[in-house]
Assembly symmetry: C2
Homo-oligomer: 473 residues x 2
């Protein structure tokens, strides 16, 4: 489709512009007509489809079933849970008319669907034998954003939202963490994003949740990205929505609920973690095209050879680019689109029964005997995956610091973005001040770090936890 | 979940109530909070997922790529194509506010997305080499309906909408028909719905289309259901949206577009075609559970046997119901949920190394040696498919009549619903009168019936075609 490859602003010069250049040049999206919306073009949507396939299997493996709940939520229903409505109301698109007819009650376009699931659960369950109910839906949601950026922050986005309901607090909390593990495993193994698992502070937790768990990743530029969250609601929603069941003692009890989601912003995270000045770099597991085969010219022998190769590599998402564009253009196109491996087939190679294989991540190019292509491809794809993960982990480690005083924190921030592990009091008011002064927020209270007896890096009160702070997308 | 199986109103007594009873008792849906909306429960949504899987493969096979376009459409954009806005405007849900802020321009929730794709295509294409673009999206759409019925007519529904753009009229029209063939093949082979392919009359074609093609099916009660449509727009949308490309002569030309869709109403069609007074009857290809294995009691030997069977039948969607509900309840549950095959495993059967297999469609029950279960299952599933299709075809044929005078038409309608092939003038005004007088509409101008020199069955003017008329959902 593209007539020419445009110049990509170097990542070190202007990270935000680099990001936009990548997103547009790799043909992932086009801007929508309504401000803050975007069109997922085939290449961008195919990445989301691959993400969906992996996660959907994992959800089903732990017993989750897919459902579909309506897009529109009556205003009165949304207002039942106080924290929830306060958290979302400024961002909610509201339907007031159908045709020329003004509606009796305003309808909200879902920014998330807890209240619909809550209403449903309250009618659906009677006894403890009906529990748990483990539901998920893959849908669009709307949250009107002031500043928007493709994938990262758009007025409409695609996500999955899981909603479950349980007979005991323990089971609900365990399930919240089971999903967090699925997210973390998927992010690390398939998206090659090193993530930190942890809990959100009181200020950052989800509107209406008792506890919010998160996986947090650090982007190339040192800003953090929340990649997925899993919320334990306790009985908050079940009290607001009167979700009661007869427990084993045959007493009516409010059920315990969870919700959890990942969205298309994961694609933004992949881009900002792995890509470079030549374009997109995609993890092999979710790349729409894993291998692109290029005949150097459209000479008959080459065309036959590339077709034979494609058949041999049919277990991969492998395509041939034999378009009439120049070889150089086609090479650049595989790079800008982040295709993990490129196989070049030319006349001299064929004379020697070999092809050239180029890695997108390192630009390394090796000649490979035709009969060794299949095993080499397998080996290289797994090396690429390992390398992308390691590169991202190295970047995060270089940008991670332990800090104990606010003064050191300000100095560190002045030097550049990164992830800062600090002793923190956990108070909302304290975090409000930090955010106002530094535009940084707490990312999570990591699981694997023991709390120490010390004082808050900012206010000096008793620190309850070591907490990661960062600027974040 | 269900505490007890409720009574299903007999199909012959009250077809509409029978339908509602099936939908609710089979646990397919729950009513939504907003009037006219519904919740797809896991069992109902799983049918839709199976439909999606089949069709998505077929679309991709002919080169279609999935995309995602925004939910909201600016009012001015929608108003660009006159017929289109006239066709949809009374049904459109309109967003006028975000939070407390009134929007400068009203935004429509998509009832369909031609105008967004049109706007996109106009920016995307330059020369004939960019064409065709073959896109599809699986999304929710809203069309506010006065009277609603689960799956068949709801304010929000799920569908796929394909949108393509081509360099020549011939190619676009051919593609419209290629998709119609995919729909027909899928409906007949997988959903076991006998369908008639044909073209819509001027009155019934899609708002803004030049030609609309359709697959029409006849339900058990003799009313027709439009199961899928494929529209050829000619240059209507490309003129309204200024979609131009440089053709091979390097002259700017308006492109030719198509759109096509099937929706969750297909599920309604399956129900109204195959189900009976015992509950749902599902075609094996799209049944969420194809085989249910029931141990008669929870005796150890039986539990081992059913697990072994499940492993042996793992290529099917095969489940075990070993819940503590009575055997009779569990049997009725497989029937109400339309599970094609039920395998009953009891102590006396096991002594003789056999099980009982029951067909949902005919209630026939046979004893089968354990070692022959796998081959018998394969044979029975294919017999069930053949039988369901034939049963539906017989029903349609019994209810189809050729009619040449309006007097005969009124008499036939008085006897009952059905499909009536009549010579018709094709005029909108004539059809308006027929509809007002009989509540019947033209369903399609079938492809395989030659037009004859005769007069319109209603107005007596020259008949242009033989056309199917029926009452329709």
């Amino acid at each position: 489709m593209k007539k020419k490859l445009e110049k990509i602003t170097p990542r070190e010069v202007d990270f935000a512009q680099w990001y936009t250049d990548i997103v547009l040049n790799a043909d992932l999206i086009s801007y929508g007509t309504v401000k803050g919306t975007m069109i997922f073009k085939p290449y961008g949507y195919a990445i989301w489809e691959n993400i969906q396939k992996f996660l959907d299997v994992e959800f089903k493996r732990v017993g989750v079933k897919n459902v579909y709940f309506p897009l529109l939520i009556p205003k009165t229903l949304f207002n039942k849970e106080k924290d929830h409505i306060e958290g979302f109301s400024p961002e909610i698109a509201t339907v007031t008319k159908v045709g020329d007819k003004v509606l009796d009650e305003e309808l909200y376009i879902r920014p998330t669907s807890e209240v619909l699931f809550g209403t449903f659960f309250s009618k659906e369950i009677q006894g403890y034998r009906d529990l748990p109910l483990l539901y998920n839906q893959w849908v669009n949601v709307l949250r009107w954003e002031k500043t928007t950026r493709p994938f990262l922050r758009t007025s409409e986005f695609l996500w999955q939202e899981g909603h479950t309901i349980h007979a005991t607090s323990q089971e609900a909390r365990d399930f919240t963490l089971k999903i967090l593990d699925i997210y973390a495993e998927f992010a690390q193994k398939k998206l090659l994003l090193p993530v930190i698992k942890g809990q959100k502070t009181a200020r950052e937790k989800f509107a209406g949740a008792e506890e919010t768990y998160t996986i947090e990743s650090l982007m190339y530029d040192g800003q953090a990205l929340q990649c997925g969250t899993s919320h334990y609601f306790g009985q908050n929603f079940s009290k607001a929505f009167d979700i009661k069941f007869a427990n084993q003692q045959n007493e009516l009890e409010n059920a315990y609920s969870t919700s959890w989601g990942v969205s298309t912003r994961l694609i933004g995270g992949i881009i900002m973690t792995h890509s470079d000045d030549n374009g997109l770099v995609l993890p092999p597991a979710i790349a729409p095209t894993q291998i692109m085969i290029l005949p150097i010219s459209n000479e008959q022998q080459q065309l036959q050879a590339v077709q034979k190769l494609q058949v041999e590599l049919q277990e991969y998402r492998c395509e041939i680019d034999e378009s009439d564009k120049s070889f150089g253009f086609r090479v650049a196109n595989t790079e800008i689109k982040g295709i993990p491996l490129r196989i070049e087939v030319g006349p001299r190679d064929l004379e020697q029964n070999q092809v050239m294989i180029a890695r997108r991540d390192t630009f390394e190019k090796i000649s490979v005997p035709l009969m060794a292509v299949k095993e080499t491809v397998a080996k290289l794809l797994s090396e690429i995956a390992a390398n992308l993960y390691q590169r991202a982990l190295d970047n995060r480690q270089q940008r991670t610091q332990k800090i104990t005083t606010y003064n050191d924190y300000l100095k560190a921030l002045a030097k550049g973005n990164g992830l800062f592990l600090v002793p923190f009091c956990g108070r909302i008011e304290c975090e409000d001040v930090i955010k106002a002064e530094t535009q940084t927020t707490s990312r999570c209270i990591p699981f694997d770090v023991k709390p120490q007896k010390t004082v808050c890096f900012h206010c000096g009160q008793t620190a309850t936890n070591l907490v990661y702070f960062a600027r974040a997308y």
